[in-house]
Point group: C2
Chain length 290, copies 2
């Protein structure tokens, strides 16, 4: 396998498999045909055609939309749909910075193909022998990517918390990182992807941060989301991404971006340009539904 294959895993998308999810006149997501047919049974909430799933214009406010959709989803959940229900709402909006048109249960976001956001932190130690990176092994109880390898800290971006405050919270909860250390994290850009996963269509933007950690710091699982932490030479991390499917698909993307930014990959690698050009966009124009 090559790193390009890992990037390709972030861009598995067939437009013909989806109908456009329209809210308040805006195309905000993509619904697969089967789920569209399911939603068509709720005609007072969803107007379903062969090309679109339109949230009823009678639902004129974010609160009204949120309540009506939550009601439908609760009924479907009672029928056994949506394993991994989170009890946590994600915003649905035109952009990350726009007011939500509605909010929906986090586990159903990939079913509507609306955008999700997350924070991922590359924790690394710099020494004479180069860069080592802290890697977390996700709990087997996680609804997505159970047992997969991940960043030292990573989490979804919920409603009502700034990206920075969310990162600080996750640093404490996931890795037992003290506040004064966590505050040394530096934003280093985004990666994004639009890709089909078991849970549905993932269309996410991840806010990435780097933190150089002191030798003496040892991350500690505190909230049960991570089972174990490992400190590995970055070359071994990259080799493992290349050769195995052990890393969560989006964690691999974040690490490849890290490797590019820190000179772990070099321009004389015949895949260098393809990798550097692909990492930010998952080979699709992001941030927008077409």
């Amino acid at each position: 396998m090559s790193l390009i294959d890992r990037l390709d895993a972030c861009a598995r998308f067939t437009p013909a498999n989806y109908r456009t999810f329209i809210v308040d006149g805006m195309p905000l997501g993509r619904v697969d045909h089967a789920f569209a047919e399911t939603l068509s049974a709720y005609g007072e909430v969803f107007g379903v055609s062969s090309s679109d799933v339109v949230l009823s214009p009678d639902l004129a406010t974010p609160d009204a939309r949120t309540a009506a959709v939550a009601d439908v989803l609760a009924q479907l959940r009672a029928e056994g749909m949506f394993p991994g229900w989170r009890g946590e709402h994600y915003p649905v909006s035109k952009s990350f910075y726009a007011a939500p048109a509605l909010t929906v249960e986090r586990a159903t976001v990939p079913r509507f193909g609306t955008m999700g956001y997350g924070v991922h932190l590359n924790g690394y130690v710099k020494g004479d022998d180069g860069i080592r990176m802290w890697i977390g092994k996700r709990s087997m109880r996680k609804p997505t990517g159970p047992g997969k390898l991940d960043q030292v800290v990573a989490g979804g971006q919920p409603v009502g918390l700034s990206v920075w405050d969310n990162l600080m919270k996750e640093c404490g909860e996931e890795a037992g990182m003290p506040d004064d250390l966590a505050r040394c994290a530096v934003p280093v850009g985004t990666v994004s992807y639009l890709t089909e996963r078991d849970e549905g269509l993932r269309h996410d933007v991840l806010f990435n941060y780097d933190i150089e950690l002191p030798e003496r710091f040892q991350p500690t699982p505190t909230d049960g989301e991570v089972d174990e932490f490992y400190l590995w030479p970055i070359g071994d991390v990259i080799a493992r991404i290349r050769e195995t499917d052990d890393f969560k698909f989006n964690a691999a993307l974040v690490i490849i971006d890290f490797a590019v930014r820190h000179g772990v990959l070099e321009p004389d690698d015949p895949e260098y340009i393809e990798i550097t050009e692909a990492i930010r966009v998952g080979r699709f124009s992001p941030g927008r539904v077409r």
Copy 2:
């Protein structure tokens, strides 16, 4: 102005203005209609239709293609075309890593719309007051971007020199940087763009490097390509990119990428995602002619 405007300046491209430049069956560039008509006078070298400019299949080797095209270009240059002739050849190929199908005079690359490559080095000093960046003011005698602000070291990527060796050479020539210091440069990724400029269609991939410079180092113009160097706080550099047109279009792109990677821009900036998503691709899928 916003940083987005600077990114938009790297993506001014109207497909209808161009015909595909085809070599050995491969679409390798784009020729505007006026230059296509000019080339149609040389029917033994160029087969020109309303959609394509095809290099004659009778020219079966890179050497034969290079010689035949050079002959045409020399005649056109004698008629006053191609100001800023460099006397330096650039490869034309399917990818950076592929053997060239031919080489052409550097100043004519934007007329054929074939891909160009360059190395750009962000030279910065880290202090208690944050990051300062070395900026070079280009000589008024440069054929492109005379008098514009630029990276401390930047140059085109010629045939027959590795990216790293080219960077080392430019570090010495442009900024008088000793070899043992220049070797601390770290590759940090690429940026690319496809955009219409006075000189023609620029479709480039830039290999970017960062170097943290010691306080005591003072770059010195040695080859006449740079008139002066300035050391400015990164916030002032970004403000100047935002508010003025003083920076060369591609130097601005390289600095915006630097600002993202070093946390100078932050996720709560409402333009953050648009900027981070746009910098690598100039809003076009790069590296490939369609």
